[in-house]
């Protein structure tokens, strides 16, 4: 059972600290495990600090997402390979990510949140951010994909010709 008034203090990689309700942190496998490992009294308010390898700006975004999703069911429902789809991102989440579009480093923010969701083991946030990035790439040409991902082609012409043959069914 999670008591709504319980608090946990998180310390970030750049030295900030923030205290949040355990209603939020229960969605993070990493934080819940850290609390369990501390073996502190569940009624302690606030609990001892948990160090997270995430910077302050990214953690703020994670907390904003957790606040919206605090009542989501746990455990997070895992999809099978057959059920996988990227077009089911909730409207609030879409608007949440679109806000970053005004930032110069929008893609960097997305990478930072994906990495944070992975480190903190927040499955719902990880799922949503991975789908968001996939949706940016879906349906694009190879050249557009390289531009979005800022990657250089490192194939030889012969290797590319071989892949083109294998890919003819989806590219021609």
């Amino acid at each position: 059972r999670i008591y709504p008034l319980m608090r946990v203090t998180l310390t970030t990689s750049d030295g900030a600290s923030v205290t949040v309700s355990r209603q939020l942190t229960k969605h993070s496998g990493f934080i819940e495990k850290a609390i369990t490992d501390m073996a502190v009294d569940d009624n302690a308010v606030p609990l001892s600090a948990v160090a997270v390898d995430v910077d302050d700006a990214t953690l703020k975004l994670v907390i904003e997402w957790l606040t919206e999703h605090r009542d989501d069911a746990l455990p997070y429902p895992e999809k099978t390979d057959e059920e996988r789809r990227a077009d089911d991102i909730p409207a609030w989440d879409q608007a949440f990510v679109q806000k970053w579009d005004t930032k110069e480093d929008q893609q960097q923010t997305l990478y930072a949140v994906i990495t944070a969701a992975d480190k903190l083991d927040i499955k719902g946030l990880l799922d949503m951010t991975c789908k968001t990035l996939a949706n940016k790439i879906n349906g694009k040409t190879v050249e557009e994909m390289r531009e979005i991902l800022q990657l250089e082609c490192d194939f030889t012409e012969e290797e590319l010709a071989e892949i083109r043959k294998e890919n003819a069914w989806c590219e021609n």
């Binding site: 960097q108 990880l126 190879v142 800022q150 250089e152 194939f155």
Partner: protein
């Protein structure tokens, strides 16, 4: 996270994170969310993607291959293509299927050979390739009679 670059004059700058800096499990999760044609197109982006794409497990409902006198047609479901892929080059068909079979399982494969075709040798090679798939059902249809 960000890479820290230290220059000769001692100044420091955070380098930009790229897709390839993400842990492989994350990259695979992102690639797995692409539709099938985009996923395969992404193989041409870089060697890294070409290797990671093999780690994605794809599940398809059906592949239907039609052998028509002057060409082949292939329909994949689900797939974002609206119309069947029309192919005149048998090697492209076989190479495409071989590569697809490496990480794709399918509920049903159907081959339909239409009146007027004479592809007995081809059929053997095609069948060998299709047996590489993890599939529940393989149906062949022959309209030649």
């Amino acid at each position: 996270g960000d890479l820290l670059e230290i220059f000769d004059d001692g100044t420091e700058k955070r380098g930009e994170t790229t897709f390839m800096d993400l842990p492989d499990e994350m990259s695979i999760k992102i690639i797995a969310n692409l539709d099938l044609p985009s996923q395969f197109k992404m193989r041409r982006v870089s060697r890294g993607f070409n290797e990671l794409q093999l780690c994605v497990k794809n599940m398809l409902q059906t592949i239907e291959i039609k052998i028509i006198p002057d060409r082949y047609e292939m329909s994949i479901n689900p797939c974002s293509r609206n119309s069947p892929w029309q192919c005149h080059n048998y090697d492209e068909l076989i190479q495409g299927l071989r590569r697809l079979a490496l990480n794709t399982s399918i509920n049903r494969i159907t081959i339909r050979e239409e009146l007027g075709t004479d592809h007995i040798m081809i059929e053997d090679c095609l069948m060998d390739t299709l047996f590489n798939f993890e599939a529940d059902e393989l149906i062949t249809w022959n309209d030649k009679k």
